[in-house]
Symmetry: C2
């Protein structure tokens, strides 16, 4: 509960990767997927969404790939999460007000709305550039490294209990 989806995770990882390696031109979906052990078609989907919303810019054809649509400082984590997972809604009452007419059913709504806005501010205040600042180390070295077992490793460590 109250957690990010994996898609959002993947999206943020990809955005950070692009921000860090911006100097090297484009990066293909395949490249990113292999680097972080993300299922390629799933990542492709996420990147497509980010592309359509303008956060990324795609280049087709051979040696194509993705690059950031605008400066990393101009892309907030909120932007990314919202385009990938849709709008963030804390309670159900926020969307349809028709259901709330029943007496004081939603008296808790207003206080929660503050929490909601707080979270939005929090996410909105962090840009992809900020993400890229931390843990700058070892981005490309481990990516080109050979990864002998394609699936085994992922299955062993991927348990998100």
């Amino acid at each position: 509960m109250l957690k990010l989806t994996k898609k959002a995770d993947y999206g943020l990882i990809a955005l950070k990767h692009l921000a860090v390696n911006a100097s090297q031109g484009v990066a293909s979906a395949k490249e990113i997927a292999e680097c972080y052990q993300i299922p390629l078609p799933l990542l492709a989907k996420v990147l497509q969404k980010l592309n359509k919303s303008g956060l990324l810019r795609s280049e087709q054809g051979t040696n194509g790939g993705y690059r950031l649509g605008r400066d990393a400082r101009e892309i907030s984590t909120l932007d990314a999460i919202r385009t990938i997972d849709g709008p963030i809604i804390l309670t159900h009452c926020f969307t349809d007000h028709g259901g709330c007419n029943q007496s004081m059913t939603c008296t808790v709504r207003e206080p929660l709305r503050k929490v909601h806005e707080g979270i939005l501010n929090l996410l909105g205040g962090i840009s992809i550039w900020d993400l890229a600042q931390e843990g700058m180390s070892a981005p490309r070295g481990s990516c080109e490294a050979p990864i002998p077992p394609p699936h085994k490793l992922y299955e062993l460590t991927g348990k998100t209990v």
Copy 2:
């Protein structure tokens, strides 16, 4: 995405109800359920959890019901949400660190952890008492009101699309 479950909603509503009507002694699950058009068995489940964790105190037998386990100021919304929905985890990496050993798979983790803690602080800073302060109006008047059609009304207004 990033939203509270209905159970958590119900729990907060119930807690607020008990905080507002604390002077009137206990309130039964049935009473609260009818007041807010919440399915009784579901609410009962939520109340049981809150009871077991000490946030509520139950009184059995005829004229039994629930009352707050401690002062409303001492119960944060974070307490309630966490006991109902389990721990709040923003990303999957927080729980098992074994999955993160793969190169820099989780370089976005640390920044997100800040967001995570921010949300926790936000929720932890709001108590049930705070909820009860806003929208004090019309708590019991509408509760005792006759509700002629037991189900019809719920179906009409309960749509939380």
